[in-house]
Subunit: 600 residues, 2 copies
């Protein structure tokens, strides 16, 4: 079996033809880049992934992190890999030049992250968590904090983390109780504990730098009293020597997958000597965190799609070589068996995976483009792109995550009994991807964010702007005879979605938030399906253009495969909106009405 | 947290009120039994499960079987447990008196199996695999085979297995190549290999008795040339001493869950000394096997539901104690957090699980009742019940298995980040249940069995008979005002299903089997949803009766919970038929038309 874990041809098709990333280079912030340059980044990610990440995937799964002498031990390669992520410029890829970064568009960074996560999800998490943590210091930290921490983080010597969750404060971040006390020296003394801190401690780096949420003594209750701090495991003393900063590793959670990266339980301030350095202003921590949240959330979607991609190619490869059964019209048992890819149900299972992998990847890159366009423009353009990004983010975070559970399960199913065994890797992808509906906000949270906030953001302007883009793509698709039916189908779905949304706004006014938001998870699923339909229609139009063009950049099989998968999506996935619409229109409120004691 | 893994109240509600199992006692074959007796069996299963099975679930998961000196080592308790399964009469529970059995109805046996599998799936597999293997010898073996093997199997001293799969013959059983050669002494010499043999070797029993499919030299090709043999690991020689029978353990597959039971790779006849004893007539092996298949397949459905049940109660318990967030109408962050069961989306996730657990369990018991009624009657009654059983079997095998993947995933989701960790057992149930869509025929095989064979069995008589039962239950439900809407909804769905089926029969005639059966998996899902809707309506009518009755056998919460879950099912699950109907009616044949090389 081959070891393909993603399609470079598809990734380039999306970047070049569908999203025209080269147009980003016209923007001042990205002016040093070219399309060739972006392609080189993709090649570099491919090479790193193929040569360094994929080969240790299985090893990492079989040898999860463990605790020794109150420190977490990870795969011995991780230290070298983090240095490599630093030296090769991955950690600093999107950072501004002033911080030693390369100002690469977020879209290209995520394309690279996609390749790495498809090869082996865990190692890239160490790198891009550090990027995200450094990013907060870049944006909101003092010059001193920036000089002290950013260079070592960019080089991969120091690990960065996001430390938010506490035992009593998971989905409910407002319940954070870790406390920071002001000192005369300017720093704060931190006391508290954090759980589920990814890469929160490990022996692959010299130091761990936590971007940590805590409440300053006397701060207002709730989300308005949360501040952001840099809390290093080892702090530089006056002479620049590193001394232990009273951040203890209290434990390690043992996960069902994603074994390459540890999640730690940390306790701060047991000796009352945990120095914390305020980032930005007091009580504004959550708003800083949220400004980075869109990026982190798109990252989750990309990782979920990446693991789904690995599972898809793994099962596609197997379906092409595994001989079992014969055509249903072939009754002679002496005829040789055929590869299972000839069976319609196996093709259905493969097309389902492909439709989701390439559809969600497109949607993710779409969100990345909005982000890059927003970040590098001003006024209305910045605002409009930001609004579209805000609207898409909960969908891009959650829909791929939910679908990745289903598609990796489908990949496993293609292996028959072998799928249940560790002799093949199908079960690994199934375990690995299960994290994505949980971290960075569980699906229900994003459903409520979408329906309760984003859809009506700026009086519905976010939705209106996104719809304009979708309708423009529908018009483009209508130019192709083969796509007309699908363009019209999508048009109809958009109308249904808009009608439903208006109806639900009426419910909100009449019945209050609880009934209004009770099926927000289903609303997100509905919106997700329609959004993926949009991305397939868009890819369909580009595929038809490419078929007709003289360039022959893409093979006929590649383009035909796109058009088949589009058909599959509209035939098999889009109809799922029917049931969702029936339910979302119903005003039977069984889940709200049911009393806890009546669920037995 | 409590350790509830099933609801005894619900099980009794189904057995007593919904299926009236006491009526089985009027039949001659079951005449020694009473309802009290059945209840005692349930109590005994409960006690065994609580005291002996559940306590070692986690240990078994953490310590999977391993190979030592070419033998498979399993959990040290398994030997004692097998003896206990024997001594307490579990292995022989359904066997006829003449073989030392207790002639307990299959329905009651499966109720007991449900409890055991909910507690810990693996150990009960050892026991009931032995029951199934012994059953084949009882039904088709010679007196000598019966006397030699059955007593030791019934006592739990000897393990029984079903040995069908070979590396090249999984779904395609007709491709079995293991060969049996006649000898002058009457026995056959067997050569070949088998894979995925559950409990195919282990150190908990003194001997392993394989019921094995092989092809006698010169036999016709395909399914018509397969014979059934008893192939013991150790064979009794002329003096009754056990000697090694040339059955080698070539390996052990490492599974992602279901760790308590090993699956073995066996090689027979390396020294040309593997004696095999023919069961029944030559070349009829597959037909014998298939006569036991309905039982084995119902068993898979029951096990899938059982694991889903364990996950449901585990997550229900957590939802009642885990504090997180506040009511959406409560803005004061100083107010205490509330148990997450108060959130509508968590209630939705719980009701989904409950609807599937209790809905599929009901359908399974329904199939068991048809089996018992068919087995203990003659003429038309036997035939009619058998036809309904045949029709339901692929659904009962596959729909609960598919749903168990989803519901255990939902249980895991309720735990948030903790769900991904081994600090809780949610991830264990999610891994454990993944086997059920794979063994005893993958879902696609059952889809084709349902649509390609069962629906039109005896010119559609099977379907007609089942529909009569469903319509009778609809009429009963219509007597209750609260159920009228749902009764009518189900009626409409049945009409749609029948119309679709007729339409698909037209497709078969016009376009041949490949297009006809291309969406058989979706057809099974559609039929499955409607069948579960039937079982909920049936339970709804009984619940209303019980509410009105003076007996007060069931608590008001229990009955209210039933009616709420029925509502949930018709509001959230039944609408999923809408999308399936759209797709199943479409004549776009993308999965058939797509060429393998176009899936890239």
């Amino acid at each position: 079996m081959s070891d393909k874990f993603y399609s470079k041809e598809n990734l380039k098709f999306l970047l070049h033809e569908v999203f025209h990333v080269e147009e980003l280079c016209k923007r001042d912030y990205f002016k040093e880049h070219t399309l060739e340059n972006f392609d080189m980044i993709v090649e570099a990610a491919d090479s790193l992934s193929t040569n360094h990440l994929r080969p240790i995937l299985l090893e990492m799964d079989r040898n999860p992190p463990y605790v020794e002498n109150a420190r977490i031990k990870v795969h011995p390669q991780m230290g070298k890999l983090m240095k490599k992520f630093g030296e090769d410029g991955w950690i600093s890829i999107s950072a501004p030049h002033e911080f030693g970064g390369q100002q690469v568009p977020f879209t290209i960074m995520q394309a690279a992250a996609f390749i790495m996560a498809a090869a082996n999800y865990s190692p890239m998490a160490y790198a891009f968590l550090t990027t995200g943590a450094a990013h907060l210091i870049e944006a909101f930290g003092t010059k001193e904090l920036q000089e002290t921490f950013i260079p070592k983080m960019m080089s991969g010597e120091w690990q960065g983390t996001m430390a938010m969750t506490e035992p009593q404060a998971g989905s409910s971040l407002s319940d954070i109780v870790s406390t920071a006390t002001r000192t005369a020296e300017g720093h704060y003394l931190l006391k508290g504990q954090k759980i589920f801190i990814s890469c929160g401690d490990h022996d692959g780096c010299d130091n761990i730098i936590h971007l940590m949420l805590a409440r300053i003594e006397g701060a207002p209750a709730g989300t308005k009293g949360i501040s952001l701090f840099v809390v290093p495991r080892m702090r530089p003393d006056k002479n620049g020597e590193l001394v232990f900063n009273d951040v203890h590793t209290a434990g390690l959670f043992h996960k069902m997958g994603y074994h390459g990266a540890p999640i730690a339980h940390l306790i701060m301030g047991e000796q009352n000597d945990c120095h914390a350095y305020l980032v930005g202003e007091e009580h504004k921590g959550l708003s800083y965190m949220f400004q980075m949240m869109n990026e982190a959330r798109i990252g989750v979607g990309v990782s979920a799609t990446a693991i789904a991609s690995a599972a898809y190619y793994y099962s596609l490869d197997y379906a092409n070589v595994r001989l079992q059964g014969r055509k249903l019209t072939e009754k002679d048992p002496l005829k040789p068996q055929i590869p299972i890819i000839h069976h319609a149900d196996v093709k259905r299972m493969l097309l389902f995976q492909k439709a989701m992998v390439e559809g969600t990847l497109a949607l993710e890159l779409q969100a990345c483009m909005y982000l890059d366009q927003s970040k590098t423009s001003t006024g209305e353009e910045a605002e409009n792109n930001f609004l579209k990004l805000e609207l898409l983010t909960p969908i891009v975070k959650s829909y791929p995550a939910e679908m990745s559970i289903q598609t990796t399960s489908t990949a496993l199913q293609i292996f028959g009994g072998y799928g249940f065994t560790k002799e093949f890797m199908a079960e690994l992808f199934f375990r690995e991807t299960r994290i994505h509906t949980l971290h960075e906000g569980a699906t229900a949270i994003h459903g409520m964010d979408l329906l309760g906030r984003k859809v009506m953001l700026k009086n519905g302007q976010a939705t209106m702007l996104l719809m304009q883009d979708v309708f423009a793509d529908i018009e483009k698709a209508k130019q192709f005879e083969s796509l007309k039916t699908y363009a019209e189908a999508l048009e109809q779905k958009l109308t249904q979605l808009q009608e439903l949304t208006m109806r639900l706004m009426g419910v909100a006014q009449k019945h209050g938030p609880e009934i209004f938001l009770s099926d927000a998870t289903l609303y997100l699923e509905l919106f997700g399906i329609i959004a993926i339909g949009w991305q397939w229609l868009k890819q369909g139009a580009v595929s038809e253009q490419q078929k007709a063009s003289a360039s022959k950049k893409y093979s006929p099989e590649f383009l035909q495969s796109k058009l088949l998968t589009l058909q599959y999506f509209f035939e098999y996935e889009m109809p799922k909106t029917e049931g969702l619409l029936v339910r979302l229109k119903s005003r039977n409120n069984v889940t709200v009405d049911a009393k806890p004691e009546e669920i037995v």
